[in-house]
Amino acid sequence: MSISIEVKGLSVFAGPTRLMGPVSFQVPQGGTLVVMGETGAGKSLIAQAILGTLPSSLRAEGEITVNGRRVDHLSITERAKLWGREIATLPQEPWRALNPLMHAFRQVKETHLFVANRTKPEAAAETKQAFETLSLSGAENRLPGALSGGMAQRVAFAAATAANAPILLADEPTKGLDAERHAKVVERLAEVPQTGGTLLAITHEAAVARRLGGDILVLRDGELVEQGSTTTILAAPADRYTQSLLEADPQNWPKSKPSDIGKTVLRVHDLAVARGKKRLFEGFNLDLRAGEKVALTGPSGIGKTTLLDAMAGLLKPVSGSVSREKTLSKHSIQKLYQDPPAAFPNRVRLKHTLQDVARLNKTNWSDVLQILEQLGIHASLLERKPDEVSGGELQRISIARALTVKPKVILADEPTSRLDPITQRETLAMLDGIARANQIAIVLVTHDKNISAKWSDRTISLG
């Protein structure tokens, strides 16, 4: 059996600093390699080094052979010829990877047309076929902004694989997907080796690694921790770090003890909401009590975010009512966003943003610093701008920002879906601790059935 990807002594440097490596591995044709590790461990650097898409500030060393051809010393133009034809790449954020101004169908068709060099009628037929297979029919003339996360994922998959490249690189392919879509994407990836393709998947989820099988590399801070057969390593990890990655899997969390529940703080009665002209759902009722932790689950696109916006008073419901307990102000309801960078002004220092909030709400700065300390954020981080801290840190800072307002209700819109499992677990544990200490009610939107079962007091399923 021939070797699809062979990597010898690959390291990635930023100036003199080694960010990742050295790693060496071989993936045979029809084989699978899973790269696992927490965010910032340098997993994506491996994929970028193989493709040749490392940012210009970074430099790769080591031998990379793709389908028997050394590629590491080739020019970028030569390496670009492999893209789509020899190596297909699934993007990390399918939504952002699609051209916002082009209809879904055309974004897939152009790969058939220009990369697979099919004729126009052939390309149209192939694209139509792909849309049917991926149950995307009806979405042909939609713009990416009108696609759900799961649909965007499938459109990107169809576009990336149109030219039947034998190797598939998938970087965090399940990021932010709901349970059902998550399973489907993993199944689709698992089919790749069965049909003779080679799969290199990057993930932080042990469950995904387990399902894909093959071989595994575990990275921590850019260093190789463990390497070998996926089944063996996941069954009996030799390293403590691998062990902690497995424990951070929500499936393995202990059930949290019930919260101390007080009187009703927010009552939602017969609520119906709509986004644009599209009515999402109606007849939603909820009695939220002080200190209570409620999980809200449901497939993507059902309107969970819209529901939270209506509960927070950010969106006018179509019908029904949201009423706060009399003593609570509008600001006692705070929202946490799914994508922390999108919830901060990106050119303003974090300290400035937080100080503004503290001043507006007459909260002592020392109290804010204390909250940050509880959340494990060192005050020196606040001198940075939002894109200079990690996603996990930023999400904790956004929790601190919400707490600065001294809320009684926190509406959390998948606050940890973009974080790696270890950070996710820590963040949710902190949120739990703070809610208990201050009798704050939390509504947590989550895709993960394990999180809702283990973390919350009760679960409401939509749809």
């Binding site: 034809r85 101004l101 082009m102 576009a159 990336a160 149109a162």
Partner: protein, 317 residues
């Protein structure tokens, strides 16, 4: 495409309504400002008609009677609005010719100058903006940044005079002023175009930098499209959106610039006519030219709106 036409009709309706409001406001404001000017309008108009040396109090009185300048201001304004409702701009108080005829010849020249200015600004802004975007924060980027700030800060009339001094007086490449042929178009177009390009080259640069750093640009490449196809099919359309929108924002600068630059270069356009009409207290001409400039602003904004809708399918929903 039908969706495009539907939204285009909605835009037309909004802009049409705006045009009516602009017409009324511009008419009233220019009328009020003319009345606020010191001096006796009848004397100035008589001087415009017969020359300063040939006129006297009797001539001024005759003008006053003929034009009804002694009737109360609201009667005069009402008459003008009434005529406007019949699409009649009246006659020039100085020359007696219909204002419409005067404007019809001048408008062509002003549009030519405006088009020349926009084309010049794009010819400067697009290459400079794209070149700086390819190496953000490089030397070229920082130099153009400084130069842009400087050129935007220089008023159009000063820039015009400097250009005339260098290229017309010293080098004798182009005529100083007036309009005899297309060689006259170059200096005024550059005067306006440089001011416009000073800002729009930065907008082009930012738009291209954003597009080139976008995830979708990277994905278009990794799915196998060549750099050229990625640029043609994805980057250009996305990057052109903020640029076209910004051209719309610049229209105010453009119209204001046309008035100044036409005066500096004695360009036979509407702006030049407006300034002359103000000096001659030719109220009908002032109202007519100001109205045309106002409507021109609305019409150009309409073009920008339609162009944005053509580029961005999201707007059509």
């Amino acid at each position: 495409m039908t969706i495009f036409f539907k939204s285009a009709i909605a835009v037309l309706a909004t802009r049409g309504l705006q045009a009516v409001i602009v017409a009324i406001i511009v008419g009233i404001v220019s009328f009020a400002m003319m009345h606020a000017l010191p001096g006796d309008a009848a004397y100035r108009i008589a001087a415009g008609r017969y020359g300063y040396d040939m006129m006297d109090a009797a001539a001024a009185e005759a003008v006053r009677l003929e034009l009804g300048l002694d009737s109360p201001w609201f009667v005069q304004l009402w008459n003008w609005l009434g005529q406007l409702a019949q699409f009649d701009l009246g006659n020039s108080l100085v020359y007696g010719t219909p204002v419409v005829d005067e404007i019809a010849t001048q408008l062509g020249y002003s549009l030519l100058l405006a088009a020349g200015a926009v084309v010049t600004s794009l010819m400067i802004a697009l290459p400079v903006g794209i070149a700086t975007a390819l190496n953000p924060n490089g030397l070229l980027d920082r130099v153009t940044m400084g130069l842009s700030v400087f050129l935007r800060a220089v008023p159009a009339f000063a820039l015009g005079i400097v250009l005339v001094f260098i290229f017309a007086v010293k080098l004798k490449w182009f005529p100083v002023a007036g309009f005899r042929g297309f060689e006259n178009l170059v200096l005024p177009s550059f005067t306006l175009g440089i001011g416009l390009a000073a800002v729009s080259n930065r907008v082009v640069r930012d738009a291209v930098v954003d597009a080139m750093n976008s995830d979708w640009q990277m994905f278009a490449r990794t799915k196998g499209l060549s750099m050229r196809l990625t640029l043609m099919r994805h980057v250009l359309r996305n990057a052109s959106l903020p640029v076209v929108t910004y051209v719309g924002v610049q229209l105010a600068y453009l119209i204001e610039g046309v008035v100044i630059v036409e005066t500096v270069f004695a360009w036979p356009g509407i702006g030049h006519a407006l300034v002359h009409a103000i000096f001659g207290r030719d109220i009908a001409m002032v109202q007519g030219t100001a109205l045309t400039l106002g409507l021109l602003y609305v019409a150009l904004n309409l073009c920008v709106d339609l162009a944005c809708r053509g580029i961005d399918p999201r707007e059509r929903a």
